[in-house]
Amino acid sequence: MSEEKVGVYICHCGTNIAKVVDVEDVAVWAGNQPNVAVSRDYKFMCSSLGQELIEQDIKEKGLTRVVVASCSPHMHEKTFRTACERGGLNPFLFEMANIREHDSWITEDNEAATQKAKALTNAAIERVVHHQPLELIPVEINPNTLIVGGGIAGITAALELADAGHHVYVVEREPSIGGHMAQLDKTFPTLDCSACILTPKMVDVGQHDNITLLTWSEVEELDGYLGNFSVTVRKKARYVDEEHCTGCGICIEKCPIRVVDDVFEVGMGKRKAIYRPFPQAVPKYPVLDPEHCTYFLRGKCKACQLFCPTEPNSIDFEQEDEILKLEVGNIILATGYDLFDVSKIPQYGYGKLPNVFTSLEFERMVNAAGPTDGKIVLRDGKSLPGSVVIVHCVGSRDENYHKYCSKVCCMYSLKFAHLIHERLPDADVYNCYIDMRTPGKGYEEFYHRLLEEDTHFIRGKVAEVTDAARTKEEEGKLIVQVEDTLIGRQRRVPVDMVILSPAMEARYDSKEVTQLFKMGCDFDGFFIERHPKLDPVATMTEGVFIAGACQGPKDVPDSVAQGAAAAARVAGLISRGTVMMEPVRAHINEEECSGCRICNNLCPYNAIIFHEDRGVSEVITALCQGCGTCVAACPSGIITGAHFTNNQVLSEIEGILWDVRPAKVPV
């Protein structure tokens, strides 16, 4: 038996615990366990009086270990550790038994609950005896921040941090920042022109002294931890020298090759082989697309180089990808969303029936700077539609695809109806919806405005879009088959144009991104926040934050709010300068290491290195995150996982089974 003097405190938590667990009985029983010097029960251990009780006992009774049996350690471990510290005890000589969330709240059986409370308390007593005093590890925060994604959420976060005086790297996969918002025409419900409110912010990002903008770039590797991440970024070859290019655009003008732009114009428009996705792109330098460039394909042309007016010439066919290493303290992921692939629902006819459009295609079409100069026309490029159906919930609120509500579609579908009324006053516009969801400031009012604009609303999920006419008036039309649930009848609506409003979904590569940044995503692929209500922009990985639609479907105001919130969180860490980290880390006893290297490949953080000269492995404390996988794997048992040592866990197992253990027989 050890010499330790353990103080045990059983909390009533008002009646939360005491109503089910016989706390007095547990306290008396605990008092009779080996090593226990003091055992008490108290109404609220987390109250200042409860905490003082612990402090006093440490000072007066010379306690060397403390156990509190109360709620979850995620709730109050920190509270009691601090109380121990105030009493003069190392905070890690404390252990908590969770007899509320794991016991009194899950059963009404008093006897079983009391028995379980004893087991959990005893486990803590037997474990705490083996605790070692530990010190928190101070970590300095590098004041630079990496923001991945240059949509509106990333732009907002970047400007907030840069304006606060901190350096920011913005890494964007596309040639320009702006994201999906740059593709939109108007924004609901105020109908501000999207570009008019976005482009000034894009320009600010491009010109800010504190922002290094890396477009046409992707993060390839991430090492390190909160405060000290090291990021490898691939800056793809643009074949344009950014230092000398003035962005005059003559090369674009002279390029003879026109290709369909599948990215920015979503296939609705064309671009050159050397191009800028849109006129207001930031940065202004064009990108050369070697897959379509005549010089790259056939070794001839070079029109862009020939006409480039800068000295020296800015077109550089020899340019190669550049690998950059960035050192940052925090990371904000604002990687945005993809749209649901509507061709997965064949009965809606997209791809087969030319006049079925997606919302983003329509968005480009109504945009004054878009491929049709803002004219609403059918696929032939000239005929005006006399009637349009807008189909809500395509791939969202659908058991077969995404169960969730995509949140923004009702509002933009209403916006589309308004824009059609505005440009084609004689056109009939139908909205086929399941439920009209318009929560938000000014949103419901916008819906009412549309009700007065003579839009036809059909409450029902569209079954099919077809060109198979049954009557004369259906001939040459798209027929939308839908049950109007308000009148209880099937309807066939013959129209000229159909717009599908697809679900916002997680980026196709969100799983890989979460693996790269060592955080989690949910079943739908959206990044998981630390707490859905109270911590929406932090992740389970310290130093990695999320903002915007990468966390779930969001409109512009919500994305902006999250971008700013994530920036505030990062700014808080930067201004603290140093944060204290839990000392739960692995350590290899080099004297006993056999050099088998089993642990080397298990570490997800590459924190274990092998010293060839001495034939032993070593854990780099700064990189270790304390998962303990190596500890469990070491065949010699000589890796110690601080605060989760083999001795501590094995004693806990013995303690938790106090009432069922077989009697010990000497060997």
């Binding site: 979850s72 969770n98 899950i106 995150q625 089974l657």
Partner: protein, 154 residues
């Protein structure tokens, strides 16, 4: 005390998902079998097979290992390493004559209090049907003394 056999299950819950799932089950007042006694580990990858053996030897009738869903591990893929060990361990336990249901693995994310609670209920019933493990009978063949090494020798 009723006549019914109440199994004791030791649960190894990872700090980030499953322990929080158990917290959530409590906070949501989901009622489930109090037979599982949780031990918190930082990651399911920390669950050394000897912990499981130790628990069975020390009187537990079953062991539940709970971790984050594949792809959601806080430590990238510790849960996958737990799964690898679990599969090997199960093979060994089978050779010792220990029934399949006694050692189980579940993925429960921090939002899946109900998943964890249902798993504990199901496992409790399965083990109740099997009866006590009785390690000294089953594994040591009941021929002689049950040798429990004292901790320092482990």
């Amino acid at each position: 005390m009723s006549e019914k056999f109440e199994p004791v299950i030791v649960g190894f819950l990872c700090n980030w998902c499953s322990y929080r799932a158990a917290d959530l089950a409590g906070t949501a007042r989901i009622k489930y079998a109090p037979n599982m006694r949780p031990i918190r580990v930082m990651c399911s990858g920390r669950v050394d097979p000897q912990f499981v053996l130790k628990a069975l030897r020390e009187g537990a009738d079953g062991v539940l290992i709970a971790g984050c869903h594949p792809g959601e591990c806080h430590y990238v893929n510790g849960n996958i390493k737990a799964l690898r060990r679990y599969i090997l361990l199960k093979k060994m336990l089978k050779q010792l004559g220990i029934e399949d249901e006694r050692v189980q693995l579940v993925w429960a994310s921090a939002s899946e209090g109900i998943v964890l609670a249902e798993k504990v209920n199901k496992m409790t019933e399965e083990i109740r049907a099997l009866g006590p493990l009785n390690w000294s009978e089953k594994v040591l063949g009941g021929n002689g003394r049950h040798i429990v090494p004292v901790l320092d020798e482990v």
